[in-house]
Symmetry: C2
Subunit: 212 residues, 2 copies
């Protein structure tokens, strides 16, 4: 068993992955922690410390092979697998996410979208027909659902979350403005857009904050 890695480190991994992807696109094959640190505006120490939580990917006197490190981080993040996602709530947010094709390029496949509104059920969004939320239970039995995207209004968020958990779905990507108790090893990743906008408002009005 690896030693525990702090969430602070984990949240930096996608950023490394992004920068390494850019380097790859630019045909750069090797990079030192120092050069990368300047591009990313962090310390070289931090980069080396972060990476060494997962293994020794560099070489003394050389630095890091960009492609190799890119692939390692991909593996660490779990992006060599594919994931089946269902969207709960076929409103604006749910539709926007379904229509956003970038996620599928990373292996996140939308296999279902559900709503309770009789006027939306049956309509087609992109390649999927909106199903009745009451069909979710059977759907999870017949399909391997990894992640539920919670995009319902705040009022029904708790109900739907309880259903998700009881149906055995393990991952929740939460766009509702609510928080949930993590139970039975359920993993919740929150996207609080309103919180983000409020943080922007604060920063907008004040110069008295410390970057990062």
């Amino acid at each position: 068993m690896d030693k525990k890695v702090s969430l602070a480190v984990i949240k930096r991994l996608p950023r490394y992955y992004r920068f390494l992807g850019d380097l790859l696109d630019n045909g750069i094959t090797r990079i030192s922690s120092k050069d990368l640190s300047e591009k990313m505006n962090v310390t070289a120490s931090q980069i080396r410390q972060d990476l060494n939580n997962f293994g020794c990917f560099g070489q003394q006197g050389y630095g890091y092979n960009v492609e190799l490190l890119f692939e390692e981080i991909k593996e660490i993040l779990g992006l060599n697998k594919t994931y089946n996602l269902v969207i709960l709530g076929a409103g604006k947010i749910g539709q926007a996410l379904l229509n956003y094709t970038k996620f599928e390029k990373r292996g996140f496949n939308f296999i279902g979208i559900f709503d309770k509104d009789i006027n939306i059920i049956g309509t087609k969004i992109r390649n999927l027909e909106v199903k009745d939320i009451r069909e979710l239970e059977n759907f999870t039995k017949e399909n391997n659902v990894d992640i539920a995207v919670l995009a319902v209004p705040a009022e029904s968020a708790n109900d739907i979350y309880e259903k998700i958990v009881s149906y055995g779905i393990k991952g929740v990507w939460n766009f509702s403005n609510k928080e949930f108790r993590k139970e039975n090893g359920v993993i919740v990743e929150d996207v609080h857009l309103t919180d983000s906008l409020m943080t922007l408002a604060y920063k907008f009005n004040s110069n008295d904050f410390i970057e990062y």
Copy 2:
């Protein structure tokens, strides 16, 4: 001049605001840091430390008046003002944000939406007609634009960002998968959806991480 407040504290403010709002809705008029800490799953010490960055809002032996504290945090976050926002990019994300009415309840008003696609320009989304992105410069001269919502594809993100800055817009809510140099006091708040999904993937596959 107040002493600097760390971004960690600032990012917790919207969460306090959210929980206090819930308490208010439930008719609860006072709360101690201890009771709130149990609801929020943080320490009472942290709550008191956080709040005391901004003032003394409690009362010994009593705790905090919920409504008063709610209003204080609202003020601190800058939610007693209103903000004018323009959306750049009338694709799925841009449209979804425009259609999401919650933001306006908080004082964030969408006053324009722009795109470069001739097929989209002129169409109406909610209450706004999509304008040609080339009209943005004049628009910013005639209107007080506080925040630009960057919802364009990655390829054009940098170009549009440069324009935003040169037109004197101070706040950027960035939904593009790019990062920008903060220049001329420009404030950028990033929403990296793909990063968030990758973090979820990591957590999904591993139990070896530390919560928060």
